[in-house]
């Protein structure tokens, strides 16, 4: 909910919002390269041929970071803080507490995620995967001019059954100031087969300090998006 919800928007509001989309302009180099190699591009119409190589390299890099992050988590048990609830480990459940974030599997199978600092996104992604939640996690240390748009390496599922999000993410605190935490509860049972969870968190300056914001949703669980 926004404080000015219900206010009639103006044409200048629309102009300003459209301007923010300029940041998504493709690189000239990539589109010109496509002209040099039109044949393969057209043979694979519908697939971003030029960007493919770059995304594959990114996926490898992300996977490498994720492995390193898992090792770091394993080396630092209890290196973070305790959560206010679910402090005891349950049979079959796991918990990963770090100063930046925590992931806990509750007795009912729900995954409780809490963010405090936007650090080690790959580690959070690996921790979620270990708890049965295929995910892509992205942290941005800057305001996102147009949050809610997927990065190029992930795709929205072609169909999400109505009501899925309410069951999949029964509770979410999408933004808050620094001392408070941004939190999300996921029920892995409601992740559709072949899909994964996408979480992006970013910071925004405000008069009361730095705030956190988070978007979340379902994406197709491709290796490019969530690693292999």
């Amino acid at each position: 909910m926004t404080s000015d919800e219900g206010r009639m928007r103006t044409e200048d509001d629309l102009r300003a919002a459209l301007r923010t989309l300029e940041q998504h302009a493709p690189e000239m180099e990539s589109v010109l390269r496509a002209i040099d190699q039109p044949a393969p591009r057209r043979r694979f119409r519908g697939v971003r041929y030029v960007g493919g190589l770059r995304r594959r390299r990114l996926a490898v890099a992300v996977a490498a970071v994720a492995v390193a992050a898992v090792a770091a988590v394993a080396l630092q048990p209890g290196g973070g803080r305790a959560r206010g609830h679910g402090g005891t480990q349950t049979g079959g459940g796991t918990r990963t507490y770090l100063a930046a974030w925590s992931v806990q599997r509750e007795p009912d199978g729900m995954i409780d995620i809490e963010l405090k600092q936007l650090k080690n996104a790959a580690g959070l992604q690996a921790a979620l995967r270990a708890d049965g939640v295929p995910a892509d996690v992205e942290f941005f240390h800057q305001p996102l001019a147009n949050s809610g748009l997927l990065p190029p390496h992930c795709h929205l599922p072609s169909y999400v059954p109505p009501g899925t999000y309410r069951k999949l993410m029964p509770q979410i605190t999408p933004w808050g100031p620094g001392p408070n935490n941004v939190a999300l509860i996921i029920d892995p049972a409601y992740i559709p087969h072949g899909d994964a969870v996408y979480i992006e968190a970013f910071t925004s300056p405000s008069t009361s300090g730095t705030w956190f914001s988070m978007d979340s949703g379902l994406v197709v669980a491709t290796p490019q998006c969530i690693g292999s």
Binding site: D13, L14, A16, L21, E22, I35, G51, N146, L149, C154
Partner: protein, 197 residues
């Protein structure tokens, strides 16, 4: 005889090189603006890249004709709008955080509210029929008059005004002028597949 063949080949290569240089000149001078336009039109980088690549490949293949136009960049913009409008690719957009969920409304700030409001506006913009979205981008980003928009879209200026009015009403944007009732998109503002869905 062999000499003539070589000369012909050189002439042909020279003409091709000249054409390519003219194409590159246009690309360097005009492409940044075209890329930004495509990004605003599609709303995300990957879709913009796809649209621009498809269009530029076609422009390059038909450069001998397009290069002779007075304003080839206008024609390229028209091709981009058509490619966007006819693209079968679904634009991606996540469900905004908090939809159907418990949102902690204790936390508000001017900045956060402004960002949320802008994101909400962009989210609603993405839901518009693609032709309506194109009209708004051409009118409020490119700042084109309705007559020019009509030429790009291949319709009457009245249709442009109607599409714009309905799109603005759907977005709850107050227009400086007479507004039409928000009773859904006019068929002229929609693509055939959007009318059937």
């Amino acid at each position: 005889m062999q000499q003539f063949d070589v000369r012909d080949a050189c002439n042909t290569q020279g003409a091709a090189l000249e054409a390519w240089m003219r194409f590159e000149e246009l690309a360097v001078q005009r492409l940044p603006g075209v890329l930004r336009f495509a990004a605003v039109l599609t709303g995300d980088r990957a879709s913009a890249e796809d649209v621009v690549q498809e269009v530029l490949i076609r422009v390059h293949q038909r450069w001998d004709k397009i290069g002779r136009l007075d304003q080839p960049e206008v024609y390229i913009r028209k091709m981009i709008v058509n490619e966007f409008a006819s693209s079968r690719r679904k634009l991606w957009r996540l469900v905004p955080a908090g939809r159907g969920s418990e949102v902690d409304d204790r936390v508000t700030s001017d900045y956060a509210a402004a960002v949320a409001e802008r994101d909400a506006l962009l989210g609603e913009l993405a839901k518009l029929p693609r032709r309506q979205r194109a009209v708004l981008v051409l009118r409020y980003y490119e700042e084109l008059p309705d007559a020019a928009i009509a030429e790009i879209l291949g319709c009457a200026p009245g249709t442009v005004r109607s599409c714009a009015s309905r799109a603005l009403a759907a977005l709850r944007v107050e227009m400086s002028g007479t507004r039409l009732p928000a009773d859904g998109p006019h068929p002229a503002c929609m693509l055939p597949e959007e009318r059937n869905s």
